[in-house]
Every structure is written in C-alpha cells, then in structure tokens.
Subunit: 152 residues, 2 copies
Amino acid sequence: MQLDQIDKKIVGILQTNSNQTNKQIALQLNLSVTATYERIKKLEKEGVIKKYVALIDHDKVNRSFTAFCHIKLAQHTKEYISTFEKEIMQLEEVSECFHVSGDYDYILKVYVEDMKAYREFMVNKLTVLRHIGSTHSIFTINAVKNSSSIAL
Amino acid sequence: MQLDQIDKKIVGILQTNSNQTNKQIALQLNLSVTATYERIKKLEKEGVIKKYVALIDHDKVNRSFTAFCHIKLAQHTKEYISTFEKEIMQLEEVSECFHVSGDYDYILKVYVEDMKAYREFMVNKLTVLRHIGSTHSIFTINAVKNSSSIAL
DNA sequence: ACTGAAAATGTCGAACC
DNA sequence: GGTTCGACATTTTCAGT
C-alpha cells in the first residue's frame, strides 16, 4: 500500500494518541469525518496499523527496573535457535527479544521490579534455559526517550 | 494507587487491544459496564494508563531496519550529558534512548529503512553531535518478540 | 470526498445491595 | 466495593450522491 501525505499524517497522529474521535482527527487533517474514517479503516485493513494498545506507566506498576540482557548461545544449530526462541517467548519479563549481529546472538529487554527481581529472573528463568552460552547485562539508569512510534 | 486483581486484568486487556468497547471489556471481566467504565477512568486519571496509541507495522512503512547503537560520551560532565540528551531527543530515527551502566553510556534503538539509511543517519545526524566519544552498532537480524506491554 | 441519518456506545446520575 | 436502570450526547458506521 502506498501512503500519501495525509495517510502519513494520520499514522503520526494515531501513534501519538489513538484515543481521539474521528471528528477531532478530521479537524487536524482539514478533512470530513467520513473521509477520515475511511482512510483509517483502510490503514487498519491493510495492516499498516497493527493494533491499538494502552501504554502503562512503569513506575506506577512497580516495573521501573529495565535491563538489556545480551545472550550468546552455546551452539548455533537450527535446533538450538528455535528452542531458545520458543522458550524466551514464554518469559513474561521479556518484553523484547531481537536476534542480532555481533558478539552476542540476542538482545532482550527485560522489565522487572528491582535488581533483586532481576537476579531472580536470571537465576530461575533465564539461566535454566538450555543452550545458553553466556550473558551480559546492562542496566538502565534513566530512560531518556522511550517511544513506540516511528517517524515517516 | 493500589491495583487489585481486576485492575491488573484490565491493564492486561488494554495493553493487548485498547480498541474494545466497554461492553466487550466488561464481559471479559464479568463486571457491569459502569463498574468497568469507572475502573478504566480511574486508571487513566491516576496515570497508570499513560496513553493510547496505534502500533504500526514497520515493514509496511519501510522501517524494517532496526539497530541498537551504543554510545560513549567524550566526557561525563553534567553539561555534556544534558546537551547530548537534548540533541538525541530531536532525532526522529531514535525511538528509544536509555542512559545505561557499563562500557557505554547510552543505548539507542534506531528505526530506518535500510543499511544505507543507517549509514546516513550515523554520518549526518549522530556523529555530528558534539561530545560523542565512540559508538558501537548492533544490527537486528530478526525481531523474535517486540511487545510494548509489561506483565503484572 | 461530502452530506445526512440510523445504530451503537460513551458517559454519568440516581437508587440500591 | 458492587449492581441496574435510564437518558442524553456523542460517535461510529454506512448508504446515497
């Protein structure tokens, strides 16, 4: 699907705040409510907009501790990779997992309550996984910017 | 604010899909529409729910290339840190920026179209920033899991 | 892309368990 | 804390143009 300038603007608006009425969005676009409605429906249908979600304040739910965990597998066979990825998906503390280039194979983003909880996560959940070679943890001191949106 | 089990369930539901009607949510909670409505409003008012956003399919808008960029500052004075953080906020390619412990000072998550665009970002936008000591880039081969939600 | 109109929801007060 | 009922305002949704 090809996005024109108006579509891109809609995507920008909805990435910032999706809880606006069609009327409010139409106003920002200088478009009628129906035209806006149809464009949004199309973006949803085509899968450009994957879904709508609520973003939670980590501090208010005791998940202020963010860590990046770099992981090296013991081997790089197809079986090791696929097993590891399946298991990592099950860990609720892991909000993101990327297969990456470089010294390590995976980078995880982990949200837990505090350092104690992170230790428990490492000892009881992560290192019990088979196939893990080594890990390296980086702790965040402060989130300077933490956005879910992408610029178009 | 103290969250009970029902609140946590609401947060879970809205983190997965916020585009449901109160009625649909109430059904999942075995609660009345009004009770559901009031709990959600409270979560919003207290700031537990920060906002609602649309999530975009990166592939469909040509931002399939994800990189983690580790950055070391030249010095660690207050002035260097504050200037760097202000400048990094302005870069639209940077969706996340964390001040971290370890060998490097910052980790950025960068979304661009491809490697060529990443090179341009590095050369024209990142390395022109003053105060940067060194950088180390890690490229993602595959996103195994990429969620915005946190488990409660 | 716009107008107009029906159907569905959001919103909230009130009375009550 | 929870429920139900009711009612108005607002929105969504869609047909016709």
